[in-house]
Symmetry: C2
Subunit: 478 residues, 2 copies
């Protein structure tokens, strides 16, 4: 047993609560009565504990009101905004955690967040307010696990434009495209399954491979055409000869992240045929599908699949409202399994986001918004690309995306994107290190930049990043 007097023990506990910011400057502490009851001691002991902290200047008693955390205590503290370095030995999860911690500091270039000026924020705010006023009970209650039917009808209509006839009943709404992909994988692939992925591959997919316990095999891509079918077929043949069963293939046919490539329709049809031949499930991520630089929204792979054997995932995060977290999966023959998984793992999503998006889509403004977004992203991507080629060292290669808003930058061999990240973040500049996009070190000399926003500040950051890259690659040569 500790021999510290009880009031001191209690005072120490309260001190910890203040130091760890459970109670902040200006907050009222629990009443002496509550505090004593919580610790199962007499009220007089609680009083003594608070008096110790008052003597230390940590608490302040206000007559008839209680004890408050003193203001000077917190206001003299430095605000913790130090960037988080990526450790030398890292996993992708650690890199992402570091990036998330740096979110406040980092530039728009680091995350694939849409340009705020292109989001119909005020209109959605207005619609949401109106729904909360007119249909509060509906907006506040649990929704169906598959989500609001009216919104599923709108999504089914948009899928028609991508060449796919799907019933609203076939769709399950999710917490963004990431949950859609997670559910599509879980419903179709047991842990331990072998799953094919593109290389480079969006890190969100690689995280899912790790977390859901799949063996993942990378496939070659072409910077313009996306997934190499020749390579895919050769890999499937080789694995079959080795007696390894391949369960699924995850593919981003339209505006691949990070390449920006677009798979031609003929290849989509060939891929479906190849998948049928090898009894392979196709899971497509269409997060950027609406953001073509040309006038035509490309088709989904599902458009070439009459059997419903392709699972298509999408979301409104890149075009309407990242913070609403509304995605979907057109689940084909796994529809019931996916709804049951959704129910088991997170019940349902916030109703008001579904009601608001359905209302927005009713208004008919979406097509005009998409036309504008496509034009702006095409311009921004082009301008950032030119700026990189001008200000980065000779030998730098940059992707020429067909849609979306990210650029993939390849630097001379020897460039270390993780070391550069830790330097750049000190200068308040962000990017995504290339190492995130594969399971090995293939892309250590690469980085991804988001061109969603382009202005003088971003241009200056690109130039500064160019200098940093130049000095690092020069140093690596010595």
């Amino acid at each position: 047993m500790s021999r510290t007097p009880l009031p001191q023990v209690l005072a120490a506990r309260a001190r910890d609560l203040i130091r760890s910011h459970v109670y902040r400057a200006g907050d009222r502490m629990p009443s002496v009565r509550e505090f004593s009851r919580m610790h199962g001691v007499a009220v007089s002991t609680g009083v003594e504990a608070y008096r110790i902290l008052e003597a230390e200047g940590l608490l302040q008693a206000r007559p008839k009101s209680g004890y408050y955390v003193r203001l000077r205590q917190a206001s003299s503290e430095p605000i913790a905004t130090e960037p988080v370095s990526i450790p030398a030995h890292y996993t992708r999860a650690e890199v992402l955690t570091a990036m998330e911690r740096n979110r406040g500091l980092l530039h728009a270039m680091a995350f694939a967040t849409p340009n705020p000026a292109l989001l119909p924020t005020r209109r959605l705010a207005y619609i949401t307010s109106r729904i909360l006023r007119d249909r509060p009970e509906e907006a506040m209650n649990y929704s169906h696990p598959a989500g609001l039917r009216e919104l599923r009808e709108h999504i089914a209509q948009r899928m028609v434009l991508a060449g796919v006839a799907v019933s609203p009943d076939d769709l399950v709404l999710t917490n963004g495209c990431q949950e859609a992909m997670a559910l599509a994988l879980r419903a179709t692939c047991e842990p331990g399954s072998t799953v094919l992925v593109e290389s480079p591959c969006f890190y969100g997919v690689l995280q899912l491979m790790q977390v859901l316990g799949y063996r993942c095999v990378p496939l070659k891509t072409d910077p313009h055409l996306g997934l190499s079918l020749e390579w895919t077929e050769a890999t499937l043949r080789r694995l079959k000869e080795d007696g390894e069963r391949v369960r699924a293939l995850v593919v981003v046919p339209n505006f691949h992240n990070p390449l920006g490539s677009q798979m031609p329709d003929t290849r989509k049809a060939q891929l479906v045929e190849l998948a049928a031949r090898y009894n392979l499930i196709l899971i497509e991520d269409d997060a950027y599908g609406e953001l073509a630089f040309s006038d035509h929204r490309p088709r989904l792979i599902r458009a070439f699949d009459p059997e419903g054997a392709v699972l298509s995932c999408g979301s409104f995060s890149k075009t309407l409202a990242p913070g609403f977290r509304v995605g979907w999966v057109a689940a084909g023959r796994w529809r019931t399994a996916i709804e049951q998984l959704k129910l088991a793992l997170s019940l349902c999503n916030p109703s008001m986001t579904h009601l608001a998006l359905a209302d927005y889509l009713d208004s008919g403004f979406y097509d005009g918004l998409l036309r504008k977004s496509r034009r702006v992203y095409r311009e921004h991507t082009h301008l950032m690309r030119q700026h990189i080629l001008t200000h980065f060292p000779v030998g730098t290669r940059v992707s020429t995306p067909a849609g979306g808003f990210v650029l993939w930058v390849q630097l001379p061999a020897g460039f270390d994107s993780v070391a550069a990240y830790n330097e750049a973040v000190q200068a308040g500049i962000g990017f995504t290190p290339g190492t995130l996009f594969s399971t090995d070190d293939t892309y250590r000399n690469c980085l991804r930049l988001s061109a969603a926003t382009w202005n003088e500040t971003v241009a200056a950051a690109v130039r500064r990043l160019g200098h940093l890259v130049a000095s690092q690659t020069a140093a690596s040569r010595n």
Copy 2:
């Protein structure tokens, strides 16, 4: 190859889209140009397809505007609201899917949804509107995977009142308590692990056992004291002797669902000690913890664990806003793993729900609301219990919960809750069949009723259910 003429093929596709309600009465169809492009045919073929449907009376051409789905077509259709029966051979997932499909029809008694009159719906609507107006960019953007820090601070403060000193950094916000439990389990237990659960057990937990692939072992409970420690220890001893490693125990200490039991503090402390002895992870579900019928909010099991080895899950779904889907997990030493899982599986939750709840909690109204909710739920639960005892057959037993708002009803052996469900649902009455609360048929003669709402309609439904139960039990005796 099909020999059906191309315009007929196209017309059939468009017909399917209308029949499956992708396009509903009054909707504008894709333009002839779009429609033809989508199918890779000449515009003249698209025109012909639409004309076929116009002749059938399915479409209507409007000059200079396009083709619309005719109104009379849909308005003559019956509205599909047939209740869904539970199949004779069922799994829990099928029962839940049937219940979800019946949601619109069923009575408040079927789901543990809080009483709408007790939710601060108008105030939250007002706050959300204000936030959307004043901080639209923040409300519309991605949030940190762990969720808004201000809200985590409020939750940490409330946990102090449950005897737990936890840093806001220790909390990860989730899509309701269900996702919190899913993440807590995933972070601590590999697929194939053995996990102990209570019997009866909230079906959401059993679904997680199934979906995440655990071997689950049920433990005896007491209707007043909850989990039997004696039984738990005996089970742990037996499994250890058999060489089976038990990884975790899932427990609802405060206002167990469906029992309403409350585990005494001394037992909570003993459970922590037992867990330490057997190297067992404790995961507690505190969804109903704020809804005590007494004046004191009971402590969490975590309050008796100085090591941070207990994972505590909670949510605002039962007290503030089910449709906001805001829960949390106090993750102790698994904090980083849980944040990384959250990031991988669903990225983050809608920002505006966090901003709105933090603002509501700032206002200080929450404690008053909880006092009122506790009083109302105590009354409603008492009244429904009396009504059941009066109108159900002799031999019926009903729980006496210490908090929350559900009742657990045991009927004479031979009563079949699944058959009764299918009958009751035809009469527009809902309940939760007892079979959902275990992995076997132990509770086939039981049912759970929610007493959140109590009025003459609910009372009449309870009486009608009593008759139905009486006739079924009488029939089973013949």
